[in-house]
């Protein structure tokens, strides 16, 4: 065998992290801060913090098409990525992939939103950051759907503390049992109408609460060295373009700079990891196979420990492609659960209305955050319903009507025009975020007949929401309308645009953790049951979905897994 030993040495690290999004950034920071020589492999393009946020300072009239992307371009390049209705604008489409370059297929519609770049989707995420409650880790065991979580809230709580302090989460502690308190920077203000809504809802409806959204924006000084030199949020609400002030948490603004100053970090972009190399003798992974996105060149990198942080779907895909004699169905897939149990939150259901009061009040600044109504269904005997399992929360938002109301009013001319320079009535909307049950039938598979431009198999989705979500959605709409009514809103309308899986951009569950290797892919430390030096810490590990936005939970588990991996490495067990 003619092995190039020198190359092997150069391409060997202590740790490899696949992906640079929210969890990849955390893994890079934690591992390199512990002194491990860490290589981050990112399949997308390089993005330089600040410099490459090319649209961040542009007003509407400074954009070629005042922000909108031409229909022909959407049809050609973004037919699926545009399904959100709020992305693929001139301001941020460069942080989403082109479907034309990265195709996938759908047995059932699945809205797979991707951002292939350094920083991944931490650049354009929604930034809402909520802890799970003790109830959320016990729900599978309680009603028998999915498998039991091998972790309880008590074990993860210190890691929530840890990641919140570093990331900087703005919010208020209310002592809710279904939404634990955290380490928060000062809360953003509510508008007058939201404060009024909170007061009415909390006084009129038992056990119903409204709090300001908990969001990963700086609203005060961080309790640690601000390595990324992040500034407080300036309330421009242009976050998805990338924030030149580092006002919100992203890998580029926060974790990667912290990793970089250790001197232990190496980053390679345009590096598509498609296979984890398995050594049957040691029963461990030895490294990864990589294709250079631009040149098509193949290479290998080696490490003692590998962290898959490539995203729920991509990490499962890499494991599925990592076939060997030992793992004919994909690495770590003894249970047959790899690629299954895909979950997301179902949304696009709620209610809105208008309030005739508070016309002598207004707001200043564009708050990149709303209000949050934590789960109130099926949390105790009083709130139990037979109609559906689990529960949902709401995100809400108020504003005074702007000039767009003029179009709906169907009136033109001098008088119609002149009143549109002034704010109209207050409006408020509530949108539900519903928990999804883990279902074995909901799956992704690899299609080796349809290869991408690098000769890799493409992904097929066969997953959707079931009857439980349908029943829950009726309750979401009804309760949203009730709360608006209780607080004096008029012209209330409910809406339900249908539950499309993926659209929450909270996909999770494809390599779930569990106690039993026969029914799960990962153990409680995010470690493959069968290959101990491979960790999966993105959304793939999630055993159930709860109804809260999941990124904070991914961060906490990632930091915890890094701590565990380091200790095991020191012990010599990895």
């Amino acid at each position: 065998m003619n092995l190039n030993l020198k190359t092997k040495q150069v391409q060997t690290y202590d740790a490899i992290v696949v992906g640079s999004g929210i969890t990849g950034g955390w893994a890079a920071k934690e591992l390199s801060e512990k002194g491990l020589k860490t290589l981050v492999l990112e399949r997308g393009k390089n993005v330089a913090h600040i410099k490459d946020y090319t649209t961040a300072m542009k007003d509407k009239w400074e954009l070629p098409n005042r922000g909108k992307t031409p229909p022909e371009e959407i049809e050609k390049d973004y037919p699926k990525q545009s399904r959100t209705g709020y992305t693929i604008n001139e301001t941020d489409k460069h942080f989403f992939v082109k479907d034309s370059e990265h195709p996938y297929s759908e047995t059932k519609r699945f809205d797979w939103m991707r951002g292939y770049q350094l920083g991944g989707r931490s650049l354009n995420w929604g930034r809402q950051s909520y802890r799970w409650s003790p109830m959320d880790f016990e729900s599978n065991a309680k009603d028998g759907h999915g498998v039991d979580w091998p972790v309880r809230y008590k074990e993860i709580a210190p890691w929530y503390d840890y990641v919140e302090k570093f990331a900087g989460i703005s919010g208020e502690n209310r002592g809710f049992k279904m939404l634990p308190d955290g380490h928060f920077l000062p809360p953003m203000e509510m508008s007058c109408v939201e404060s009024h809504f909170r007061e009415k809802v909390e006084s009129k409806i038992k056990d119903r609460f409204v709090t300001i959204g908990r969001t990963a924006h700086l609203t005060g000084p961080l309790p640690h060295d601000n390595v990324g030199r992040r500034s407080n949020c300036l309330h421009r609400n242009r976050c998805r373009r990338g924030c030149p002030y580092g006002g919100y948490f992203s890998s580029l603004a926060a974790t990667l700079p912290a990793a970089e100053i250790t001197g232990n970090l190496t980053i390679a972009t345009d590096a598509i990891v498609h296979h984890i190399i398995y050594d049957a003798k040691t029963k461990k992974a030895t490294g990864v196979r990589v294709i250079n996105k631009n040149t098509g060149e193949h290479s290998e990198f080696y490490a003692k420990v590998i962290f898959l942080c490539a995203s729920t779907v991509a990490s499962a895909s890499i494991l599925m492609q990592s076939q060997s004699d030992r793992f004919p169905d994909g690495m770590g897939n003894d249970s047959g659960e790899l690629g299954r149990n895909i979950m997301d939150h179902h949304l696009e259901v709620g209610a809105y209305g208008k309030h005739e009061g508070f016309l002598d009040k207004y707001e200043k600044g564009r708050r990149p955050n709303g209000v949050y109504i934590p789960r109130f269904r099926n949390i105790d005997n009083r709130s139990n319903t037979n109609d559906f399992l689990r529960g949902y929360g709401y995100q809400g938002y108020s504003s005074r009507d702007d000039w767009t109301r003029g179009i709906a009013e169907m009136q033109v001319g001098k008088a119609a025009k002149d009143k549109l320079f002034y704010p109209g009535l207050w409006n408020m909307g509530l949108e539900g975020f519903g928990e999804c049950l883990p279902e074995h039938e909901n799956k992704m598979t690899l299609d080796y007949d349809k290869k991408d431009q690098w000769g890799l198999p493409t992904i097929n989705f066969d997953a959707g929401f079931g009857d439980n979500a349908d029943a829950m959605r009726k309750d979401i709409a009804v309760n949203a309308a009730e709360m608006l009514e209780a607080s004096g809103f008029k012209g209330i309308e409910t809406y339900d645009y249908g539950a499309n899986m993926g659209l929450g951009i909270h996909e999770m569950g494809t390599a779930r953790m569990g106690k039993d290797p026969k029914t799960s892919v990962l153990n409680k430390w995010n470690q493959l049951h069968a290959v101990k030096n491979v960790f999966v810490t993105d959304g793939a590990f999630m055993t159930s979905s709860a109804c809260q936005n999941p990124s904070l939970t991914y961060m906490a588990f990632t930091a915890r897994a890094c701590d565990y991996a380091f200790k095991e490495l020191k012990k010599g067990t990895l």
Binding site: P64, P71, G126, E189, T404, I407, G413, K417, Y422
Partner: protein, 207 residues
Amino acid sequence: MERRDALKNLGFGSMALFTSTALFGALQGCSSTPEVDWNPVFLAPDEAAQLEQICEGILPKTDTPGATEAGVANHLDQALSAIYKNREADFFKKGMAVFVDRFEDNSEVSFSKANTDQVTDVINAYFKKYKADESILKDYRAAFNDEGNKTEDFLETYFVTNVVDSTFWSYFTSELVGKEVMRYDPIPGKYEGCIPYNKGDKSWSSV
């Protein structure tokens, strides 16, 4: 929040008109100064003049600028040129011809002799009709995706609804209105949720 904004139903149906390519602006620059003699790139010169007259009727000059001063017709012409292959560009052009042709059915004067107020009145008369008879907009929406030639009624409804929709959009996202007329606050710094509103205070601009 952004998710919810996306659900707001702005306008009457088509978004194509304002989703053209980077061409406009690049072609000859979007003039926001009053220029009756801008060079149309999609419409014929007489059509361009007609469009400008219609846009001004939708958002006329008062003590604030009108559509002409904000460069709306110029901007729309360039938007149309960039989607010229799209059938909606054709709907728009043909629909305007129907609108102009039928103007006298709805007014005491012909289109060419109409002043700004008379154009305003005719468009409001259409809206009154749409509100009184909901089947007009319903039938129009139902026919939208049909293949083949469109009726004059369809083209007329397409034009009236879309010219209003796009005139509002173009006007309120123009630099003139966004910077000089509305309150411009590109970097607010902090968010204040409950401040006094005094009658006469303008809204924050759509930046």
